[in-house]
Amino acid sequence: MTVWTWLALAGAVALALVAAAEVRRHAAARAAGRRFLRHPTASLGVFILAFFVTLALAAPLVAPYDPTRQLDPVHLQNQPPSLRFLLGTDVYSRDVWSRLVYGARLSLGIGTIAMLVAVTVGAGVGAVAGYFSHWLDAVLMRGVDVGLAVPRIFVLLMAVALWERLPLGALVLLIGFTGWFVTSRLVRAEVLSLREREFVAAARAVGAGPTRVIFRHVLPNAAAPIIVSAALGIGNVILLEAGLSFLGIGVPSPLPSWGSMIHDGWQWIVAAPWTSGFPGLAIAFVVMALNAVGDGLRDALDPRKEGT
């Protein structure tokens, strides 16, 4: 670690604190926000997420070394954490801290993109099934039932087995496309009840067609389960990606996703626990933070709690 990277790290921590404080301030101004803040873990979760996101964004500033560069395979293998290597080095003499920071980009990025795909497809299918009902609903929901019955990991394993070298982008999309089923059920339930609300009838009476009704009236009011799904979904994807990478079929080497870092350091878990330990901790913190934030959001956005 150089002086500059220390400064950058301090700056990143400060930025994360400021961002978290801003979020708190804005949340406290609204009733839903106050419900969110009543969960002590939710605020902590916001800070942790802010920290990791800042790290990911500021990776070039905060990482002293290139994450894929093998510094000195002979002398600098598996070095314990020191002032020079903040989190030590791995078996290929790569700086763990730099890899962790760039890995944040990968893991968070994969998580977010896959989640966006899943939530978009899930919300779309759920909205259509819930709004139009009857046979379309039945067909779509039976499809969802099938999707829920098939274990996600197996589908991904099969895909990897069938393609020689699955590009990362395709893997991310595939993760997304295997993960929208629960969201669609939640959104469908919400849409079914919203459909009967009078403001939807009012919109139709004024002449709005189904597209406008779904996008302007129904979905914005069904935002709650979608947002909660999203927050929890990122966590799921991060864990899934870690699992796949750990098995060696996820993010290809030498890209430093947290899962592949664990994979790389697995054999040295006793001799050099920092190589797998730190990425493992990072995953744990981020997923726990996402779950805490997701729980807080679920409580905050619960319409039955309006006025508490």
Binding site: A28, A29, A31, R34
Partner: protein, 342 residues
């Protein structure tokens, strides 16, 4: 003059609103009495504090965010309800004072049979066995006019209509023969023909059981037909109190006047009626910001400068015995202003 059964003096119930909304002074100095065997009508629109008043009497207000201010006084059968211990209060609720609620759909527990819910009060207060309590429940169902009570006692609320559920609630309330029944909007959620049935039922039960009824409603027609005395509430206060006939014949508070004039009525000729209904301009202010002085003054057609600065206390009307017809209005001190406006 008999002793009042329920004596409420200067009741103040405030609610703390979060995040700088201020304190909502939902009930702000309410005083009235209920005498044994009479029906007192508590009339007002939404936001006037009538439901909070009734919940305060039974100490059913959630303690944060609500609290009953010191200085309030509620006495029932000679006992101070505000200083009673929780066990003593529980012995009174459902037993000496009972309450029915507006929405029979949501006030009955959907997972228990009707019989179980009615019997519960008897089991708790009279220590009856399950079997004896069930028999009492069937008696109560007959008393409130539900057909086939032996069968109905095992039905669930969702198997019954709105009118029947309201009757069940009344049965639940009356099983221990309370001295006072607080009926919160007993007819509002019901169809007109069913409303008439329920009002007739309450009338009959009151006579048979000799109990007092506090009838809370926004419907002046209901009050005219069922109440002996009327208390009119506005903005957390009692603005007028009078025997029913007197109130309708000579409404003295401008709010009461306005309310009576703006109710659409069946008993006027159609030709007189097409055209404008009298309406009170403006709307009810928020409980966090009652106007200074008389709370009704921004909407009052007679208001003058005194009304904006000094809050009138309940004043006796000349020509009535003290305490029978009180009005919170400065017009009583300057009655000539009323003629000038008209």
């Amino acid at each position: 003059m008999t002793e009042p059964l329920l004596h409420v003096r200067d009741l103040k119930t405030y609610f703390v609103t979060e995040h700088g909304g201020g304190t909502a002074r939902a009930v702000d100095g309410v005083s009235f009495d209920v005498y044994p065997g009479e029906t007192l009508g508590l009339v007002g629109e939404s936001g006037c504090g009538k439901t909070v008043t009734s919940l305060s009497i039974l100490r059913l207000i959630p303690e944060p965010p609500g609290h009953i201010r010191p200085g309030s006084f509620i006495e029932f059968e000679g006992r101070n309800l505000l200083t009673s211990a929780p066990t003593a209060l529980r012995a009174i609720r459902g037993n000496r004072i009972a309450m029915t609620f507006q929405e029979p759909m949501t006030s009955l527990n959907p997972v228990f049979t009707v019989g179980d819910q009615i019997a519960e009060a008897a089991i708790v207060h009279q220590r009856l066995s399950r079997r004896a309590a069930r028999a009492r429940a069937v008696e109560m169902l007959t008393l409130v006019g539900i057909p086939d009570p032996q069968e109905r006692v095992d039905h669930y609320p969702h198997q019954m209509s709105g009118g029947m559920r309201q009757r069940v609630m009344i049965a639940m309330a009356l099983i221990c023969r309370p001295q006072l029944l607080i009926a919160d909007e007993p007819t509002t959620a019901l169809d007109v023909t069913i409303q008439a049935q329920i009002l007739e039922l309450l009338d009959r039960l009151q006579r048979e059981l000799g109990m007092a009824v506090m009838l809370i409603t926004h419907d002046l027609g209901v009050v005219a037909g069922s109440a002996d005395r009327v208390v009119v509430m506005y903005a957390g206060q009692v603005v007028e109190q009078a025997p029913t006939r007197e109130l309708f014949a000579r409404p003295l508070h401008p709010y009461t006047e306005g309310l009576l004039a703006s109710v659409p009525r069946l008993d006027t000729r159609v030709s007189q009626v097409r055209g404008r209904l009298h309406s009170i301009p403006g709307q009810v202010p928020a409980a966090t910001a009652w106007p200074a002085g008389c709370r009704f003054h921004p909407r009052c057609p007679y208001a003058w400068d005194r009304c904006a600065t000094e809050e009138p206390p309940p004043l006796d009307t000349p020509g009535s015995e003290p305490g029978t017809h009180t009005v919170r209005c400065w017009l009583l001190t300057e009655p000539q202003r009323r003629e000038r406006r008209a």
